[in-house]
Every structure is written in C-alpha cells, then in structure tokens.
Amino acid sequence: MAVFVVPPALEAELGQDVVRSDAPDVASLLAEVRLRLSVERQALLERGALLVNGRSIHRLRGLDTPLAPEDQVWLVFPAAGG
C-alpha cells in the first residue's frame, strides 16, 4: 500500500498522520483524501506540491503518476530558513 503522509494542517480533520491506500495513482489517492476533508481544507491540496518518493509529480506523470506499494506521497509547501 502506498502511504500519504498527512501534513500537519490536515491531521485534525483526517484524524491520523498517515493514510495508507491501494489507490493506483496519485489522482485516485487524492480523491480518497479529498472526500474526508472539509471544503476549506480541500483547497490546501491545490496549494502544496505533491511529491512521490521525493520527486514532484509534475516531473513524473502528473496526477496520473502510478503508485506502487511502499511509495510515499507527501504534500509540501514552500519553506525557507537555514
């Protein structure tokens, strides 16, 4: 099963810090997650970069990027510091 690592901003609504899923691709996984979120929180899914095993989906096959067991999907936001 692929793992969606839940960003802290979504943890309260999802009630867990990881979502395990048999979704075949990123789009299906997102659809599963979206169903469990309020409209307000759903918007966050559009604002963060989706990464599969550290790689942006826009450098893979976008939302059609297939997911294999053990793949990790993260949703991250611009960050900086040092």
């Binding site: 802290p8 559009e46 970069a49 095993n53 993260w74 611009p78 960050a79 510091g81 040092g82």
Partner: protein
C-alpha cells in the same frame, strides 16, 4: 569617513595587553565593504602562510557591516573570522543578537584579536575606552552562566567549556544566538579569551537619512507582507523546513542513509507552534522574528532551529521535539555547533553500528547521545575523539565514504542528492560544507520555485550567482533570510501541480545561459534593497552588478587564501555516499564532476580550480 562605517579598527594583543585603534583602509572598505569581506582581507594580510589556527599569532576577527547599527531591517549581524581549526581553510561564522550594533556604537567596524593571554580574560569595548578584564572566575562556566555574570547592558560574544577545551567545532554564543560554524570558539579558547563585550552610544553616519528612512519603512513593510518572510518564517520559524525537506527526501536520516523517516513530521514547525511555542523571538531590527521561545514542563526553553532538528534530531533517530530542544540548548550552553556535533554523532553511531568503534553510541538513544555531548565538550574519554570532527575521526577509524563533510566541515540538513546544485555549492564553499553560502536548495527544492533538483542543468551559473550574492550580503552583515523575499509573492500563489507552474519550471530549467550572462555581465540597475540600502547609507551609488562584483571579489579572495594554506581543487569534493548511493528509485548521486568543470570556467578559474591571473586582476584583488 564613508557613511555607514566608523572608520576605525581595534587591534588587541592578548599576549602583551596592548590595545590600539587604527584607521581602516578606505580602499579595502570600498572593495570589500565590511563583515565577511573586510575580515577575509584582514586575515589574508595579517597571517603568514601555513599558520596553525591555534598559533598565538592567529587573528580572531569580529567584524560588523556598513549597515550594522543603522536599523536597516536584518542588518545587525556580526562575523567572526579566523583560520578554522576544523578545516584548515578560512573559517567565518555569523551571528545575530545585539553585539554587532553595540560594537559599531562603540566606534569600531572590526576588532582584530591576536596573541594568547597568560590567564583567562574578557575584552570590554566601549566608546569611552577598551580594557582586558580578568575572567578567571568565568573559566569553566557555560555560555548562559557567563553571560549572566558579565556586566549587564553589553552586547556579548562568549565561549563555553567546548571552546576552552578547543573542541574543533566549538561555537561563540551571543545572547541566544550562535556563531556556530568552523570552530571559531576553539580559537577564542586557545587565546584564553572567554568573552568580548561591547557597548556604546555613537551614532552611525548615514549619507541620506531621509532616503534611508523611506527605504527602511518600505522594505520593512515588504518583508512583513511577503508570504515567506512575513508568513512562513514568522509563523513557524526555521523549523518550517522540516516537512518540506522530508517530503523532498532530503532531511538527513541515520547519517544520511535516507532522506526522511515516517516519524519526521513529529519534529515539524507546526508541532512546535501548536504544542510548545510561548512566543517568537528575533534579533535587533528584524521584523521577521524567526527565533522560538518554547515553554514546557514549567520552564522556558529555546526552540531548536531547523539545522538543530535535522542533525541532532532526525539524523540521530530522535523524534521528540522536547528532547531535541534540550540537546540543542545543551550544545549552546556548552558552546558547541549543533550541526557539526549532530553530524559527528551520526557518523560515530554508524561507526559503532558497523563495529568500527565501540563507544556504545546508537541511533535513537537519547540518553547515550546526550551523555556523549557532555563528553565532547569536556574532551573526556571517547569525547576527545569526537571533538576532532568527522574528517579526523574517519582518518583514524575509517569510514571516509560516509563521513559527511566537505573540507572537514560537517554538512548541514539538506541532503544534496535531492538538490544537486546544493551539492555543488557544498563542494565549492570556501568554508566547507555549508548551506548558507548561497542557499541554492531554496531554488531547487524547498522554495516556491523548483529548478529541477535532480538535474545538473543550469546549476553551475546558479550556484555562482547565489554564492556571489551571499558573499556581498554577508559583507553587508545583512541576514540572508531577507533574500528569500526576492521571489515575487505571485509565484507562491501558483498551483505547483498545475500546467502554468510546470511550464514556468520548464523555462527555469533551461535558464543556464541567461544566468551565465547575469553572472558574467554587469547589471547597472538597482533592483533589490541590498544595493539601495548601501547607496543611501554610504552616499555612493551601488548597482546590483556592483554588489555582485564585490561578492565575487570576496569569494575569490577567500579561495586565494585557501590555496595559499594548501587546499586545492581536490578539496572541492563530496563524500562517496553522496556521489554514488541513491536515496530513491529513479534518482542517483550528485553529478559533481561535470558541474565542477563548468563552475570553474564561469568563475574564470583554471581546470585545477585556481583563479587565473586575469580573473584576479579583473577583480582588483591584491594577492
């Protein structure tokens, strides 16, 4: 006197007790500004080649910049420069707090300290006089104890037991801020100098006070309204990076054997804010306030910075924020660099795991790792070995391939296999494995734009541009964090998974030739606030191109210093683990060699990494 500068340097000989003021060289100020640049010039000129960092003749230089004390946002930093006992290369370490402002108000742009005192002393600098005072009663004290015992109302720079014991990555602490890198605290300890304190009331000359005031208000507002400097950094501190670096698979994990752990989110900035934050904290004149004050278990604590979380937490398999905060605070109190310390502990734990050492260190063992920190600072037992840093440890016990350092300086918390331009930046950094010499990872992996982080395309000119800009900004002694606001807010509003964003990134991926033109050509415009502030303060017009040329000059001078001290192009390297081991399917190591060749060519260095005579002449460097 040039606006912004006090025009005076303080020279102190701890051996003879002689303290004298000298005028600064106006030409050096024009060529190198102050801070990092001016100190590099002084270090080069004041030391014979090959001088040991612990030789009593080795200078320890505290320098401020032309904007320091003016109240320009994020300008109140100081730089400590010497030859690093950890790397043998130029070592400079940067710090916020109030010390820099007080040094300028006392009337000095820099303090050059040489010699070795026969007994522990501290140096007191004021606008009414300077003196060496007995510090015997402070020797052995932690940095917080020392600061509490010193006279109130001064800006302070102090060492702890680690500096006294010459731990090669000992830090200098100022209030709750730390000049952590390169072991400058060990050189201070070798001089029997426990602290430097400064206080003054002089005003800093500003050529165009009205223009400066308008710019100050405008830029402060801009920083406060920008989504990064006024949003993310303010809200979450530097720990905002935890989730993003983990998602990008680049946060050090078990001595850089992985790029994240499913427990990593437990260390996030959001967790720190929601569960532990008491209030944010910041340096003088900084509107961002990225520091954190935590409260838990009935007491106040300093919140760990991202690097501390990365190296002392995630890298060591420690996923409890309070534990990491306490280890970080203990390092600060003992006067240890949390990056080098955490990295060294990770390396030592892997040595133990592989049976190459028997110190009993284990990933995830908070108690054992905490006890090791105490031993390092005291140089007690195996702590004496670990106090030497990863490169020397590897030379003695093996494991060079997974000693994660460059030029002897331990890498911070961005694994370059997921941001290969950052790998080139690490390899070519004059002070060794440092992330803040250009912060290329911001434009590859962590920020709102992402120039293909796994591709070498466009990276050499990007790294040169970033390094030159950073050298100039740190010669101004401005905080590099403000540079994160250079990316327009509109970019932050784009959907990073959408067509428009993908198209923009495609263009940036191919921006190498344009970036190369930017680096090698001049830019007569004033575009961002760094050159505008410098112009209003000094009364001389600086363009963005002028500032980048100054940065290039500083970077090249540092390179010349390193070459003089015996370093070479062979030191522009990464450990084998980062070159050859993959972190995830479809990715590889850092393609360093081809990037390095292009990088040298852009800089006007030969194939061995030596600046050509033409380049040195073009930059007006007196070598």
């Amino acid at each position: 006197m040039t606006g912004g500068n006090m025009g005076r340097l303080l020279f102190v000989d701890l051996g003879t007790g002689l303290i004298e003021e000298r005028p600064s060289d106006p030409q050096d100020v024009e060529l190198y500004l102050g801070g990092r640049g001016l100190a590099a010039r002084l270090l080069y000129d004041l030391t014979p080649a090959g001088l040991d960092p612990f030789d009593e003749r080795m200078p320890l230089i505290f320098s401020a910049g032309p904007l320091t004390g003016t109240n320009a946002p994020q300008s109140n930093r100081f730089v400590v420069t010497t030859k690093s006992p950890l790397t043998g290369a130029i070592g400079d370490s940067h710090c916020g707090g109030s010390f820099a402002t007080q040094l300028k108000r006392a009337g000095f742009d820099a303090v050059v300290i040489r010699g070795r005192s026969p007994r522990p002393v501290f140096l007191e600098i004021t606008d009414e006089g300077c003196a060496l005072r007995d510090a015997s009663h402070l020797w052995g004290q932690t940095t917080s104890e020392t600061q509490r015992a010193l006279p109130a109302g001064f800006g302070m720079a102090v060492i702890g037991p680690a500096g006294e014991n010459r731990v090669r990555y000992a830090a200098i602490v100022s209030q709750r801020r730390v000049a952590g890198r390169c072991g400058t605290g060990a050189v201070m300890g070798s001089k029997n100098l426990k602290a430097v304190i400064a206080k003054g009331k002089k005003s800093i000359p500003i050529a165009d006070p009205e223009g400066f005031k308008r710019l100050q208000q405008e830029i402060t507002q801009m920083l406060l309204s920008h989504p990064m400097t006024g949003g993310v950094l303010k809200d979450l501190g530097t720990a905002n990076l935890v989730m993003t670096t983990a998602g990008r698979n680049i946060i050090p994990t078990r001595n850089f054997r992985a790029g994240q752990d499913l427990n990593t989110p437990r260390l996030s900035g959001e967790k720190m804010r929601d569960e532990l934050l008491l209030r944010p904290d910041g340096c003088v004149s900084c509107p961002i306030r990225c520091g954190r004050h935590l409260k838990y278990d009935g007491a106040e604590h300093k919140g760990p910075e991202f690097e501390t979380i990365g190296l002392l937490g995630n890298n060591l398999g420690l996923f409890d924020l309070k534990t990491v905060a306490e280890l970080g605070e203990r390092c600060d109190d003992l006067g240890l660099d949390t990056i080098s310390c955490g990295n060294t502990l990770g390396f030592a734990a892997e040595l133990c795991e592989r049976g190459m050492a028997d110190w009993g260190l284990r990933f995830g063992d908070a108690e054992g790792l905490g006890a090791a920190i105490e031993r390092i600072a005291a140089r007690e037992g195996f702590g004496d070995e670990l106090a030497e840093g990863t490169r020397r440890l590897a030379a003695k016990f093996g494991g060079q391939d997974f000693a994660i350092q460059v030029k002897g300086l331990e890498l911070p918390a961005y694994d370059p296999r997921g941001c290969v331009g950052q790998g080139l930046e690490y390899a070519t950094s004059n002070r060794g494995g440092c992330h803040i010499r250009g912060s290329t990872m911001y434009l590859e992996a962590t920020g709102p734009v992402s120039i293909d982080p796994h591709s070498r395309r466009a990276k050499p000119p990007l790294v040169v541009l970033q390094q030159n800009t950073n050298a100039a900004v740190s010669s101004l002694c401005m905080c590099y964090f403000s540079a994160y606001a250079m990316i327009p807010p509109a970019i932050f509003r784009m959907n990073p998974n959408g067509f428009l964003y993908r198209s923009l990134m495609g263009i940036l991926d191919r921006a190498g030739p344009v970036l190369k033109r930017v680096v090698t050509g001049g830019n007569p415009l004033q575009i961002v606030w760094f050159e505008k502030f410098l112009s209003t303060v000094t009364g001389k017009r600086f363009s963005m191109g002028d500032l980048n040329r100054i940065g290039e000059r500083v970077f090249c001078l540092e390179r010349l210093y390193n070459l003089r001290e015996g370093l070479s192009g062979a030191d522009d390297a990464l450990p084998r683990r980062l070159l050859q081991e993959s972190l995830a399917p479809g990715t590889g190591g850092v393609p360093l060699d081809p990037m390095l060749r292009e990088y040298y060519a852009i800089r006007g260095w030969d194939e061995r990494g030596v600046p050509t005579e033409k380049t040195v002449r073009r930059l007006g460097i007196r070598a």
